[in-house]
Symmetry: C2
DNA sequence: CTGTTAGCGCGTTCAA
DNA sequence: TTGAACGCGCTAACAG
């Protein structure tokens, strides 16, 4: 059997309370006594039973996830993952709630953060918008001792504790590299469809993509960015106009949402041979891959991001280790052939690590 | 606060013991009493605290992972993931041990399975070899009530409870599709380097790859399979000879291990423009991607597989739900641009879900 | 500074 | 068929 607090108390010749004080780094223990206890811990190879500890302390950790509302399928999948995680974390004495805010709205986001802080939560996860008032709100949370992680889109200039998301510059580079390889010698410029340059993930992807396109051995012209606000209707109109305007277009890189509009415009135009790369495996992009309209989809695993955020927030709230640096999220590449079966539960279209 | 057994006992007007009997479906409760309790459970929305339950019952679940020995980097990474998981699952009252067997050795594997069963374990995870005696051993484990999952390589004809690994036919198809796209109009046959056709994962990958190569719109010739036994030295020799024999070779698909030999042979030969696709992100394939010798690497997340195996085995040992069908493992695609930073802990070269 | 004691939510004897 | 009492490993009051 594994050694318990009793064993180490006996072995060190002290009482359980003293052992507990040492374990939890609480004051009121002489250095000599502490050394004895620590020796016993080392000697017996003691590791504390976290479940029992949580059970005993009874404290619960309230976390808040702030997620953009609206019909963006990726965000809806993200929210579904959060709701699914709620059940799984109860044993960890963690309770999660979700708050929705209008997309791209810095003011609303800042207000939501302040409200959560006022609500005495232990930690906050939010999809950041790049604006000074958001930075201020995050810094206020930090000042109040509330753990904070940015989700999907980062805000490195703030005092957030961690970023749960992909390296979006690398994602853009990946898209560029695939586009270049798929196009080969084919001539023509490429278009970029984005949501808004006011979120960091979009602007970072663009910079990575543009960099590859400009590099030696590629040298392909990138047209002006089309900003569709992640709205399918606007995206469709922008893409349709672009297709009409540039008959020689070789490819389209869609780095935001609103992909339902993109796919619709492409279907209507019927332009085989056009290389299309999009982000996030959602119902529209999945359909595009299956029909052959979309060549590749870059993806981030929302479930992984959510679980990572929970772990980091809990650790921070507990004052635990300086956050596991291993929480890096992969940039997934999907083509028609490695498309995973859809997940009926979350709609994220991905089988997920439980 | 969440309702506890006390609450539902009070609400139902019975004692805790009765509530417990109902919760654990034990006999000795009148139908009427049971109904009252179930009504209370429903009414209060009670969910049992698994951590506390495990703490109370004190039972511990011994699991065994049987993994091929030798220098196959993927297998070593897999084992590292298992060892890393050991610490994390102690709170779950699960203890894991690792057993090594010679690779591709059906007899040794069957013996190891029998030994584990004799050792009264709760569950076994093993990398299967395709042989009747292995099927028999798995079926014996099943008969003894020991949960069994195949890991990485399946044996669907046995009575294993679950397979923790990727769809290898789809992985082969993915490789084929990427190869076709990367090659474009370039002429020439492609070679396939495998470990052994006696493990299902290798043979399935080959069939998927060959199918795509034979399909309309591709029609590329696939040379006879080179079987390198996942040994770098043999692999190197085989590839070197093949390169010499076929100057017009367009690509190589390496679907097994031994990739250190493949990369070495390619470096020595210096054949730019050759499209190379390999499996599993390990030190040699990572180096190949970084140097540009390898174009793409298909990967399965060993950490994910291990954690999934543990969850499934635990659930089965507890007689829980008929196994979450959601435990599907993704086929990851890596190119130079989306290469994750190496993980110093496991050597699996992947940031991993903790 | 240190030790005693009473739970946390649940499972499991034993009696009734 | 039912109930009371104890313990799992740990934390947190309170004493000393």
């Amino acid at each position: 059997m594994r050694p318990t607090v009793h064993d180490i108390a006996a072995s060190a010749g002290v009482s359980l309370a003293t052992v507990d004080r040492v374990l939890n780094a609480r004051p009121g223990v002489r250095a000599v006594t502490r050394a004895k206890v620590e020796a016993a811990i080392e000697r017996l190879g003691y590791v504390r039973d976290v479940a029992a500890a949580n059970l005993a302390k009874g404290r619960i950790y309230p976390l808040v996830f702030i997620i953009p509302e609206g019909e963006n399928p990726f965000m809806r999948g993200l929210e579904a993952e959060v709701r699914q995680a709620m059940d799984r974390v109860t044993f960890d004495r963690t309770s999660i709630s979700v708050v929705n805010v209008p997309p791209f709205d810095a003011h609303a986001l800042a207000a939501a953060i302040d409200a959560a802080v006022a609500g005495e939560v232990a930690g906050i996860a939010a999809v950041a918008v790049d604006a000074p008032e958001v930075v201020d709100a995050i810094d206020r949370a930090h000042a109040e001792g509330v753990a904070f992680v940015t989700l999907v889109s980062d805000l490195a200039s703030s005092r957030r504790d961690h970023f749960c998301g992909v390296d979006n510059v690398a994602a853009g580079r990946t898209a560029g590299s695939l586009m270049a390889r798929f196009l080969g010698d084919r001539e023509g410029p490429v278009a970029v469809l984005a949501g808004s340059m006011r979120v960091r993930d979009h602007s970072e992807r663009l910079s990575g993509f543009s960099a590859v396109m400009a590099e030696a051995g590629c040298g392909r012209h990138v047209l002006d960015v089309l900003e569709g606000q992640d709205d399918p209707v606007r995206a469709r109109a922008l893409v349709a106009r672009c297709l009409a305007e540039f008959p020689g277009l070789a490819g389209i890189y869609s780095l935001g949402a609103g992909n339902a509009g993109l796919v619709a415009a492409l279907e209507a135009a019927g332009r085989p041979g056009l290389c299309v790369i999009a982000h996030e495996l959602t119902p529209p992009t999945r359909a595009g891959l299956e029909s052959g309209i979309v060549d590749a989809v870059l993806h981030q695993d929302a479930g992984h991001e959510v679980r990572s955020a929970i772990r980091v927030l809990r650790a921070k709230a507990d004052g635990m280790k300086p956050v596991a640096a291993q929480e890096r999220i992969r940039i997934d590449i999907f083509i028609k052939e490695n498309l995973p079966p859809p997940d009926p539960e979350t709609g994220t279209a991905l089988a997920g690590e439980g």
